[in-house]
């Protein structure tokens, strides 16, 4: 888009009347819309469709200090075959782990469709030097991780140093380009306003994000429906203006099937069917899977089963 060249640096003056522009978000109306979509009543075949999709879109995650090779191996097996007693249950999209555990996840998932995602860039706070962050990204990409989940520098963002945030994303992207998918975590629970969420979304997309992701799962507030809606609208605006496709990942706090269905309904009614694929949408979750399996069994048989019938990994 053309800008006026004679203005001093930083004073970007659009020479076209319409989008693209940063745009603003009205919090009350956004939350109202998110709440209205959450009242959709999804039943029977439509529910089974959503639950099956939720598994195929899931980034099965373990990000604990107590993670061990054994834990990661067990989780990987669970991701490959979530329900050994039911051959119709698909595998999850990916296993998401800390950098040092990437080799164990890779080993267990080799030959399957399940990808390995690694968090990086001083996850979850992002409070480290750029060199260390880049070194970490380089390491996980070289180890063979298919996807990198980086965090943005919220300290820089909240103090208005957007260029620093942007540069970091660009440099991480340079390492990932052609080798690994880049998901950029905004940690929306720390951004304070929906206007900030929108700004951070556009910043991440401009920096080269393949996906934008809500949260680390480590903050007090994680993925919420209005936050996702705000991010989906940013993705939609970018797509309409430029044709570029950016994926969305909601992560943190999604523990029940009902929530997962609500998040999917929102994607469906905001971005439409093309985004209802693991290539464009992910759910990051550690404990959601068994509830989804239980709900699928319930839809099929009409009754709930004892949780002991579902493996705990």
């Amino acid at each position: 888009m053309a800008t006026a060249p004679v203005l001093p640096g930083g004073f970007e003056l659009p020479l076209e009347p319409r989008l693209p522009r940063l745009g603003s978000v009205d919090a009350v109306a956004l939350e109202e819309r998110a709440a209205a979509l959450a009242t959709r009543s999804i039943k029977r075949e439509a529910k089974l469709f959503a639950l099956d999709l939720a598994i195929r879109m899931m980034d099965l995650t373990t990000l604990e200090g107590a993670d061990t090779p054994g834990k990661v191996a067990a989780l990987s097996s669970k991701g490959i075959r979530p329900d050994p007693s039911d051959p119709n249950i698909p595998s999850v999209a990916a296993i998401c782990v800390y950098p040092n555990l990437v080799p164990y996840a890779l080993e267990r998932t080799r030959g399957t469709s399940v990808k390995v995602a690694s968090v990086a860039t001083a996850f979850p706070s992002g409070q480290s030097s750029i060199d260390i962050k880049l070194a970490e990204v380089r390491e996980v990409v070289e180890a063979g991780a298919h996807e990198v989940d980086m965090v943005i520098d919220r300290g820089a963002f909240l103090s208005g140093r957007y260029a620093k945030v942007y540069d970091e994303i660009v440099r991480v992207k340079e390492i990932c380009a052609g080798r690994a998918h880049l998901k950029v975590i905004l940690e929306t629970g720390e951004l304070g306003t929906y206007d900030n969420v929108r700004r951070a979304s556009l910043l991440a997309i401009a920096g080269g994000a393949d996906f934008i992701k809500t949260s680390t799962g480590k903050a007090a507030t994680n993925a919420t429906l209005p936050v996702q809606l705000c991010m989906l609208e940013a993705i939609r605006d970018v797509h309409e203006e430029t044709g570029r496709v950016v994926g969305m990942k909601a992560a943190g706090g999604i523990r029940q099937s009902k929530q997962a269905v609500q998040f999917l309904v929102q994607v469906h009614e905001t971005l439409g069917l093309p985004w209802l694929t693991p290539d464009r949408y992910r759910l990051g979750a550690s404990t959601l899977l068994n509830d989804v399996l239980m709900q699928i069994r319930k839809e099929r048989t009409g009754r709930y089963q004892n949780p002991d019938y579902f493996t705990v990994d």
């Binding site: 956004l30 439509a46 490959i80 595998s91």
Partner: protein
């Protein structure tokens, strides 16, 4: 690769790519509400047969199926109802301790909450509105109105400092078909709180929630005659308006009928409040949060199939963002789910009556004939029932009928403006003045616009929001008098000097 892993990989590759996610029907159970085969008139605390002997059938507009037979009250019936109201007023209600009146109103409010599902289903069945709206808007707001005015009943002297309020007497109230239960609450709650008694006539096409409400009155043990419900068409309304025993008329409905009522009442000394039509402007400035503004546009005009007197039926968009807003609006309209009002996922329900459907169709045809550009999203409509696809007209001139007349249906006319002054001028350029909407990020502009818009309600960055504490009413041909809030008490009290 093990055999097992290959099998999994194969399955994953063959995972079906979604071609559609059709939400399965999610109907609210209709058997929760019992509809009687026939209803009489609710007079003096019990159902009585109409002396007129006339009855008519009330239907479900979404299925064109009869629901019940209701009475067409004649002159003698209205007279009987007014007498019952008069007796109840004279024999205790007007002298009752105010806190006792409050007690009844609180009871009614709680009973409405307890029986909310029944009322929601009945409202959707008889009126065609989506269950999502009757469940989340109509019924909770109706209960909220009774709670709110229950609180005023024993505080009237504080509402009107240095004056001595006393009730007016018998209030004749005539309500429309777009929000049958909610309008009943808006009318009855302040009247009773102030110590009046009531004869209420529900709309011809939607009498059932008012008749079910009689059962709530019975449960609340409201003294007989304090509220009387007479059903019927315009003739019944005319009888009520011209009855000499009625001290106050409150009417919500069309401007045409409102004017006729005012003519009838001229010189009689009866009090009158009118809440009539509207052709509200919803004004979108170029700095507005666009996605939310689009939600506001949709909620402004497609809420309740556009059967809303304060609907944002004229969209005024600043020209610099016109294309973006229209593109976003069209895409959003394509996701509206039109169909069975009882389905919990329905966004737009059935048109209330055949007559209304014909009126909407005729006005839409006039828009096409006058040269406006029509857009309707692809939409499967049920075969039976009265339906109209959500419609938007672009390229509309201020002089077109669709920009001037109230359509009272899911039809939006889009106009553009260049400056705030032009927006105000266009918004005010209508005989109506009920409501308006302003969308902008700039707080000062909201206040400046609100001051200059001649409309009873101005919403800022939202639309169609209601609250019992907030007064509602019109300028110009949208009527006079306010409902809701402390202002809503005024029509129902005579203020003496202490």
């Amino acid at each position: 690769m093990t055999k097992e892993k290959r099998e999994i990989a194969r399955r994953q590759d063959k995972a079906p790519i979604a071609t559609a996610w059709d939400y399965a029907p999610a109907p609210e159970a209709r058997d929760i509400v019992k509809i009687r085969e026939r209803y009489g008139l609710f007079i003096g605390g019990k159902f009585v047969e109409p002396e007129s002997g006339e009855r008519y059938t009330t239907i479900d507009p979404a299925r064109e199926e009869p629901l019940s037979e209701v009475a067409q009250a004649g002159k003698a019936d209205v007279d009987r109802a007014v007498r019952a109201a008069h007796d109840a007023f004279a024999n205790g209600w007007s002298n009752l301790r105010p806190s006792e009146r409050a007690k009844y109103l609180f009871r009614i409010a709680r009973l409405l909450q307890e029986r909310s599902r029944e009322f929601a289903v009945l409202e959707s069945l008889n009126g065609g509105k989506p269950i999502r709206e009757s469940r989340d808007v109509d019924v909770p707001l109706a209960a909220a109105h009774f709670f709110y005015y229950a609180g005023w009943a024993d505080k009237l002297e504080y509402a009107f400092p240095n004056r001595k309020p006393r009730p007016v007497g018998v209030a004749g109230q005539i309500i429309p078909w777009n929000f049958p239960l909610l309008m009943l609450a808006w009318k009855i709650a302040p009247a009773l709180a102030a110590g009046n008694t009531v004869v209420l006539k529900p709309a011809e096409t939607t009498p059932l929630s008012a008749l079910l409400f009689c059962d709530v009155l019975r449960q609340a043990e409201l003294p007989p005659g304090v509220v009387n419900i007479v059903t019927g068409d315009g003739r019944t309304g005319a009888e009520l308006v011209s009855h000499p025993g009625v001290d106050k008329i409150a009417f919500t409905g069309s401007t045409e009928v409102g004017k006729a009522i005012q003519r009838t009442l001229a010189g009689t000394g009866k009090r009158l409040t009118l809440e009539l039509g509207g052709k509200a402007a919803n004004i979108i400035f170029d700095d507005a949060p666009l996605d939310q503004a689009v939600e506001g546009i949709v909620n402004g005009i497609y809420f309740n199939q556009g059967h809303v007197c304060c609907a944002g039926s004229r969209l005024l968009v600043q020209e610099s963002i016109y294309e973006t807003v229209i593109a976003k609006l069209k895409r959003r309209m394509a996701t509206l789910r039109v169909g069975d009002p009882l389905d919990k996922n329905t966004d737009v329900g059935a048109i209330n009556s055949k007559q209304q459907l014909e009126k909407i169709s005729a006005l839409v045809q006039s828009g096409i004939d006058e040269g406006a550009e029509i857009y309707q999203p692809p939409c499967r409509l049920p075969e039976r029932g009265y339906w109209f696809v959500p419609t938007v007209f672009t390229n509309v001139a201020q002089s077109y009928r669709i920009a001037q007349e109230e359509i009272f249906g899911p039809v939006l006319s889009v106009l553009t403006f260049r400056t705030p002054d032009e927006a105000v001028e266009k918004a005010n350029n209508t005989p109506y003045g009920l409501s308006a909407g302003v969308w902008t990020e700039k707080g000062s502009r909201i206040l400046a616009m609100a001051q200059r818009l001649r409309a009873g309600v101005v919403w800022a960055n939202t639309y169609n929001r209601f609250d019992p504490a907030s007064p509602f009413g019109g300028y110009k041909e949208s009527g006079f008098g306010r409902e809701g809030g402390r202002h809503g008490l005024e029509p129902y009290v005579v203020l003496d000097n202490p």
